[in-house]
């Protein structure tokens, strides 16, 4: 819990403006509401700057729907890796939600906001599209101007170099690559901004579902790279946004 919040609450008690029992109850109530199988974290935006996001795998459509109701009250909602069924359950409550099929990302945005800054997403191959979509939808949803340059893997590295201008303009770059994942090191070697690397499970055999790319990115010989989980386009988009929004 935030120290300032605690201090102010303590002061209100001292001044007699707040009874102990009420203070105690409020402190907890502010933080989350309990719907049985889940505790909706209403305090998250206060603590981390952003609302809770629904990670859909392993939840029933009905559970997803109920969490969405709690979270979507102010007209904003982000859900990731959702199935068609989970999407439909949310749509029953929120007509305007958009469903991005490749990645299963769901967004609800009350009004058009003007995004700022610049997040550049570079993907190594056409097969990495789903994860790239998850990343760009997330960064856009949170308020970052985002651009995807697809299919610039190192087998034809000149395709990457033809985008040097976009690389130079970005505040932060997301690199998405499966197979050997070498793109992250190369990009970090020609860029001045933070590079977030997303290994994908694209590949076969000794790619071991993304482990090869993960290790490659972890061992980047160029500094300025950090890595998120395999196929975690959401995590990369989120992190890119908070870096980007601090850069303006």
């Amino acid at each position: 819990m935030d120290n300032e919040l605690l201090r102010e609450t303590l002061k209100s008690i001292e001044k007699g403006e707040l009874s102990v029992d009420n203070a105690f109850a409020n402190l907890k109530k502010m933080a989350f509401s309990d719907i049985g199988f889940a505790k909706i974290d209403h305090g998250r935006a206060y603590r981390t700057g952003h609302d809770e996001v629904i990670f859909c795998p392993g939840k029933t459509p009905d559970q997803v729907r109920k969490i969405a109701i709690e979270l979507g009250t102010c007209g904003k909602l982000l859900a990731t890796k959702a199935t068609m069924e989970q999407y439909k359950a949310i749509k029953e409550e929120f007509e305007e939600v958009i469903y991005y099929k490749s990645s299963g990302t769901i967004t609800l945005k009350a009004e058009e906001t003007e995004n700022t800054g610049s997040v550049l997403i570079l993907s190594a191959g056409t097969s990495d599209q789903a994860i790239a979509e998850e990343a760009i939808v997330t960064a856009d949803f949170l308020g970052s101007e985002s651009k995807l340059v697809a299919d610039v893997g190192v087998a034809g590295i000149h395709r990457l170099f033809s985008h040097q201008e976009e690389i130079d303009k970005a505040n932060v770059i997301i690199v998405i690559a499966g197979m050997e994942g070498a793109l992250a090191s190369v990009v970090a070697g020609i860029s001045t901004v933070p590079v977030i690397a997303v290994p994908t499970s694209v590949g076969y055999g000794a790619s071991f579902n993304g482990l090869a790319a993960l290790l490659t990115m972890m061992n980047s010989c160029a500094p300025g790279v950090a890595v998120v989980n395999i196929d975690n386009g959401f995590g990369a988009g989120y992190l890119a946004h908070i870096i980007n929004s601090g850069s303006n």
Copy 2:
């Protein structure tokens, strides 16, 4: 190679200010100088914003010394994971270098610069000190105001919460933890800024030299976390600095 640089060089040829052979030679020469066993990357600062850093393991003291001579001409130098012998070899050439013993980091800084922004480094235990030192020395060297709060592991999580104020002020946070590495998730859950997680090889048995902490951090249930290599304090300090310097 940078597109702008290429375009300008092309223009100089068009204007007749530059012969083709000279242009060709220059384009290569600008980029690096070759000392046989190594190619010193003088173009790196141009491309990535910072000079090449000497990664010392596997190099002889004499190799380290020669690379230092090439890189240190403008009075700045950063070398990581250096042994005492490698340090002494550099000191022969640069009297003013500083050697940080826990981590083996070496710095040379011509004049006192005023650092800006705010990088907060949180380490889980006393045993993580070497990696924390590498991170803070790196971030400081590059120009970021940095602060270390040590020994705030989750076994006594109130120690962490008592530093909420510093957490709230930071532009970027580095979390350094071995054993189970749980600190990164907790910090990301109470912070609005990017969290760079550094797994360390502290631990024994099923820590598998840092693999356990690495996987923990990779799977963080709180967004906003990205991970660098095990024991890579330098990489975290570097990345934190470029995020921090973009935030001002």
Copy 3:
């Protein structure tokens, strides 16, 4: 075999109350009955305090049914990770069995018993529900008063702290978490009682089907934690019960 049992049997022989052949036969018969593909361990309650439990995967519905007939003679029965088909096969014989769908747990309990003590089950996320159900049904079946607090993962750690009172009252705590599994360390740091950690296979990518959470929990920097197999809600419930029942 139990020393006391052996000694008493030996005494009966000495006194001439029991022939050698009968003693020999009885000693074996007491222990189990053989139904061909399985040996029902009737002596288990005598040795370990509890009857054998049916682990359903890999058994045909008919095998499960036959084992249930052998074990359920005194009106009690526990079966884990059962499919709907296996449940139906048991139901043919025992009308009153209850089937818990999320986890596939089956229970039969002749009469209502009054449970005692206190087992607290904390789960990190909604997706861990199946395993939490298996744990709570098991502990309840065996005779422990059990309570589940769901969705208190470390991304919003205040949700956990609001349950400090329940934590303080428990005799033993089960922590169920997938992804990075950090919850176990945090709970052990704020509790005086044994913590049984259950890694779950919830997650993706570098969670490696629960391996990440398992390693995290194994390396807990807070003492007082021990770990059971990935997704082993039954094992945790069983162990929690025998700790709890010794605590009163």
Copy 4:
């Protein structure tokens, strides 16, 4: 932080017995004292029932000594996996400390206390002695009556069965085994109490420094077993004690 503690502090403010600033300061001060490289967790006994224990690897003798001074003020101290040098550094301050050489465990106990309950430690082979020593010294230090039965591995399983009486009397059993680690399953099959399994790094080749034993114990076909980290005798001793002390 403990809810009761918080509520009482709040009440004292309401009654005017405590100023806000003092309350704020006290709440933090009660929890730990900061000696720069470490934060001594004085609140741990309050939260978890036991003082902080010094995990020695990766700390300098001087750091260990300083932490010992902070923690040992009330004449009690436990340190694990200490080298001879670390032991000597502590001995300078506390003359009466005892050093257990096989395991590197250090204890300081002001006065003779009478231990209660019963912890039984079963080790599979002579080579597991160091870890067994760490476990028994820990449990004894914390206040549990403890007994070690060494060298009862499954290659000669009758050696185990001859100790059935001790197994029946124990409140909790620690099983320590390297190589294939099969002892834990066998013990759990003939006992009614919790079994804490400690895999050790004893073995070679495909034991992979204890990984084989860890996996064996994790997959125990007998319920009632939970596992701590490889070579973690301390963790097992600690957990055994808190189970044992709850059992009386």
Copy 5:
């Protein structure tokens, strides 16, 4: 190629009984016949004592059928891990083949032979039945008298001890176990004959599809154990038979 065969062929040439070209052709022809996608190894019985066996996975029903025609000319045939389709393809050619459904083993045996010696197969649980079936059918097919004792896992180890007599009579013992695989060590500790251990993929979570059992068996603290591949009932049955047939 066998030295004796080579020497005799050389002698026939010397004596003029055999031309060089014919000798050369024959030497190759004796060894195998080529049916395009496969080379049927007719020389295997000569070299290893037994005909080639059809490993069915990855082959089309038609390929299996054609290989069966080549191998089954003398009325004997063994095929493993076959699907129903592969079985039907063989049955078209050989009406009398028997199909064992649990394991997918297929046998064809021209006339009733009298098996000799004694192979004992001990399986840990009911779920290991498929692999046990593959082992016993294989050993029986090759000519060994075989007996299966199922469900004698170490959780109720007295079930095993009640079969000491059969253990004492066997020439070789096959131990089949999944989960933690501890049974092999226990059996080797109470037996004087070779123990062939078969880890099975029965289990979940940290059993990692049989890896845990494999490592357990590899690290057996009792000598006299060797291990075959996970789920390799055929390999165990084959090896048991050649040990058994040498023992009479």
Copy 6:
């Protein structure tokens, strides 16, 4: 980018034959064309000697079709691991494409070319057929005379030795083997030419989907062996061709 190409372009500018802007545009245009989700690498043949090949997994049939249109303009096309749907999508545009079903390889070859040199493909078992097909189709497509000798695994090693003549005539040998993958070492010990080893995922249990064969081949005690990814018949065929075409 190729130095010669760069130098010539620079010269054209110097001579005034080419404006800077046109030169800049051309340099990029020559390299690839952008169809949104993919950048077709038209410069690849110039750089590597061969056109881009379509790796089909993870692409929609429509994406595959569109890429094929871009690449197939000169009547040649190679696509690997394609499904029937992807094949049909290509066939809509190019009537003459051939589909190899076992491996899912697709080829389009405008006119009959005469292949030269000699690539020998040795596969260990019938189950390795799909990968062998991918290798031979690839080598043939690129212009190498190729021959497959199937089912010469080391369990009947004389089958291999009867092909010594073909081994002696080859310019390069591809060895394809799953299970234990021992064939590569044996072949390298009796051959003077480069051996490309392809581990396959054929096997079960501890083959870990080809990992066992991969490690075997990596550790070959005979020199002259290099390894490609598990099941990567295409990569082996490609590499074999470029070795073979250099050998004439």
Copy 7:
């Protein structure tokens, strides 16, 4: 415990020849003697046919000496992987012990026995000598006529074939190989007897200290192979002896 032994003891009680207390005491005493840190398993020869063997790693020289005194009373002793210090400690008590330096094996044999049967040991390279020595000394000590053929790895497979005669005469074959471990499959393909495979830690890089050879041997495409632990020459020698001694 042996059923026959139990039955006879029971009969003695029935006949009044043995009191219950004495019977009880004797049954335990027969099995082992307790020297504190170890329980010497005097019943092992009765149960398994051979005395306990001293596995030296992790034991102090003094512990080894004391165990040797207990075990060596009848003039026979086998100890494995002993250091020079451990050897000297035993030599103090038993002047006639022999120390095999490469493997650290120690033997004591009262009188010359005539060995029978035939164990053939094939090692792949000169570097595997230590493990081969451990295997041959073990088999010889136990009473098997043993022969070593060294350096017959598959890189020059004709070296192996020149020993076909010895292969044909052996009752059992031990194959010892590091690196890729392919020798076991080849040998099993040309032999009619059981093959015990010993992976060794010889190799580097992706041999992963013997894991590559272990997996190779586990996946042998030729049946008749079983595998013991990496570097476990003792286990192979022991198993070979009990197979061999059953074969006469």
Copy 8:
């Protein structure tokens, strides 16, 4: 054994020029000579084109010396990964041997030969020097003209592009890289010739002693790459030579 050799020997017998016993003896003698602990493979040059090479680790200096005497009779010798002691042992017999210290490679070459063709070795960093030395010395020893370009890792990828001319001239390229090993993919994307990739153990943390680089290279998105063992400079040099020598 070579078919031609066999056929000719058979013919000599037929013609009466050779007795059976002599033929039999010769066939074996030609192949190798037996010096007890090793079988020197004199037939290897006949079979594979090159003499046996001494892999030094795990051999005593005296063993290395004796093998060198057998192999070095015609004045040529290659030994790898030798210690100073092993070198000195060889030097006693062959005064002119050269010792390359970084890699421990030893060569003896009777007279100066003129090397032909072109092998290009590209190494990623200065720390990869030892492996690069092993590769270049091997290729040179066998007869290939070789050139090393060091320190062209992807963090400053322009350093690589400045060597495009050498890349275009090579017949085969060896890429040596540790850490993330991305260099191999980039090189394969800009070259028309075979690329042999050597992962090195340079790196730390999640490089896992070269495993990360190995997986990266295995998963190269650019075709034309094959991989040898971690740190296997010899294997790469050998394979490069046989490709190179076939290319002229």
